[in-house]
Symmetry: D2
Subunit: 268 residues, 4 copies
């Protein structure tokens, strides 16, 4: 076992899943929180430090290879030789529905930065994101994976308590394309392909790669006004964090490479 | 919360997954162990009782509706009004490969009871079982589900700590048919259909139904002679038991309905 | 090429897909029509003979191995050494929805023979059939496959114009279980497993095995009262027959093992 | 029915599938052939014209929105108001295997233009393409779809003989990620997502969108040296062309949205 406290890195730390995952992993590890906007990780860094944990926030645009490279240079200094125990890619975005023929190339490749768009329940089918789905899921997943896999492989040398772990937060759109949702689905399908390919390449080396299909509305401030007939109709981000922690603790004799998560009342 | 210690029932208790699952759930619940042959559960009942747990064994042929009915009448007496917290359907069998056209109806419908057959790694493709795949998986799954679901629904009234849970032990053959493996695949596909249908019918009522795809050789006495180039190449049944326990503890806001489990070196 | 006119056999000949498939294959082959009730094939035999084709009807219960054996003994006499070019398993049934816990064993294993049941659109979720789904799909598929595969293999010796072909008519329920539909889904999942296993075992020998997922309401007399907002909302059975004929004509360098078929307006 | 001869457009015309598809559709339609390099379509244009058909070649880089726009401006002039009956997206590439951590961003995003790379059978797992998989499949598919869908919708007004059709040539890598093949799989998964999303958005309007999973080695000059133990082990591109033509002729009451195609001896 390594003599230094190991680290976990979470990319995509906002008010929901990312923050809950960071809190959960901070119980055992030092955590690095990546987000484009420091306002997304600063309160969380303070909260984790106040609770006696160790956290650093690094402003990072995962879709930009240089930004990721520079973030991990900074992170490696912070880590000072301690191992990386887990990496969670949880970068998401906000969406609007739009017919395919109304999408322009800039929207498809770069996302939509205008104000006043309407955020809709993912299940309703969405096609346009503030940042493009391809940037967020495929390209960001590529850069993040390239940055963390050498560290996760390196961690194996220290006989870690749990197998080094890389988890991708995904969605039902990774399994099924929908009308008005082409951009989101292409990004999520591509992320699933990446997760499967990496699981098959790095699993036999001892790194646990998982693809988590989150199917339902996350219970956060922004979704407070979504009304359902049943209680517990939204997924608690703390429960997702527990499931990621469970995945991380699976021994290499028993790796789960894909699981779905949905509220009991969700149709699927 | 119920004032009485709750129960878990495990069907298919042999030397591998079933026994490990029973030991794991016996840490918190009284456990009922079902198997056709008492020699399969007797040592385990003793072991659990010696460790301070409570266990009863009931000889049951899950493929036979009357046998299941009588087993649950006995079990309900044992339970004395305590709730059923979890039910695991883990009935399996032993296989041989056989070309489709050499299968006769009796083998397809009843299985093969002769001596001296060769047991092979499931992944090699297998078509014939000591008891038929249909009896074990489809019909047994039907009778067991009909017996446990009313008890799991009843348990909801007592505000249980964890949602009442029904887990099916399955295999890769539930996802993909193989040459020389028609009987095994039809049984496992049917079991997956049953698990999905029940998850969609009983999930919204609060019962958690899961289908666990176990992909690899289980590490038990019978597979001791299987040699692999890598360590930890066989699935530890204790790790499967931990995953089932994790599934059981998921809150209803976060149900996993299907997950895969395989050793890190497994090709898939 | 064989000097004698080849045969096609269609199991499950009613007013819909089966009859259309028989008519299509009768343009090139002599056809054998199997159904339990002679009233299902008699008018069709007459119709095909009047049009200059050759057809025989044989009363057969595909779920009963003896009945299938006896039907094929009769058929072989009719064929008089001519080859079997194609076999289509199209046995279906009529359904009602029923909660899982209201199903009894007899209904699950034998089907429901009472009068006055309500037939519903398959997509609405159905669980109970006049004859059990297991009998119709898994067991019937087994007996039919065992009867036709030796004939299809035999036909290879005559250098047939098209690869000998076995097609299973299936449904969306082969891919997805539904609430209140457990019996139907278990049967269809099992049929898909059988089709995949046989494709993998008999494909390399030159026999083309296909699984056709028919997703939608068939346009027949019995569904005349189903109203849709759009024209062409029901699948024309003649179009299914054309697709089966296309599958049959694929060369062995280009086998399709699974395809879906649905009307343009169908949600999926 | 339109009074003018309708058109089909094929993107990705090389020595294999694209050329065969163009020849097949040229029997009934005027055809437009798109490829980056005119040497890929010039001989085919001559061949089709000599055979009495009508063909035009347009140099196009489908990954470049401007190039696609300009190609379709030219094409619309050629068409002179005649309808577009079918569009086939068949753009592919050549690959090498490479471990994930040896991929650099330029290779991942732009492909590899160096000389002397080794082309390998797709099934062996490949990760790097002369042009990036994302450019070829996701981005190229986007631009091509945006260009052809308005024309296919427009064609509906002329009551075409067959529903206007958009077909994507895909691969097994659209269903399953592989070690050393992350870039290819992400591109193909994304293309499948696009095809599904468009099928669900444009199907109900009457446009038939299909995703064809081609699983095996295509029988072309470049694969002549691949040796197999069995005859007909490679897919004949003419047979793929026939299957695409069959898809095109399906009426809207019977759309196939996905099918697989593989040689009889292919393992899958």
């Amino acid at each position: 076992m390594s003599s230094q406290k190991a680290w976990a890195v979470v990319a995509g730390v906002g008010p929901g899943t990312g923050a809950s995952v960071a809190r959960r992993f901070a119980k055992q590890y030092s955590v690095a929180l990546l987000a484009r906007n420091p306002s997304n990780y600063e309160p969380l860094v303070k909260e984790i430090e106040s609770a006696g944990g160790k956290a650093v926030g690094i402003s990072t645009d995962c879709a930009d290879g240089k930004s990721v490279k520079s973030a991990f240079e900074q992170l490696k200094k912070e880590m000072g030789g301690a191992p990386l125990a887990a990496a969670i890619y949880n970068v998401g975005g906000r969406f609007i529905r739009k017919p395919f023929l109304e999408l322009n190339e800039e929207e498809f490749e770069s996302g939509w930065e205008a104000n006043g768009y309407v955020s809709l329940h993912l299940q309703a089918g969405c096609c346009l994101m503030k940042s493009s789905a391809d940037k967020l899921f495929r390209r960001g997943g590529f850069h993040f994976s390239q940055a963390v896999l050498p560290l996760l492989l390196e961690a194996l040398k220290g006989s870690p308590e749990h197998p080094p772990t890389l988890i991708f937060t995904s969605a039902t759109a990774a399994m099924k394309g929908s009308a008005l949702c082409s951009s989101f689905a292409t990004g999520k399908f591509a992320m699933r392909a990446l997760a499967q390919s990496l699981a098959r390449e790095f699993g036999p080396k001892g790194v646990h790669v998982s693809h988590a299909i989150i199917d339902g509305v996350i219970d956060i401030e922004r979704t407070k006004h979504y009304q359902f007939d049943h209680p517990d109709a939204k997924i608690k981000p703390e429960a997702i964090a527990d499931s990621y922690w469970y995945l991380h603790t699976q021994p290499r004799t028993c790796f789960t490479n894909e699981l779905d998560i949905r509220p009991y009342i969700e149709k699927w």
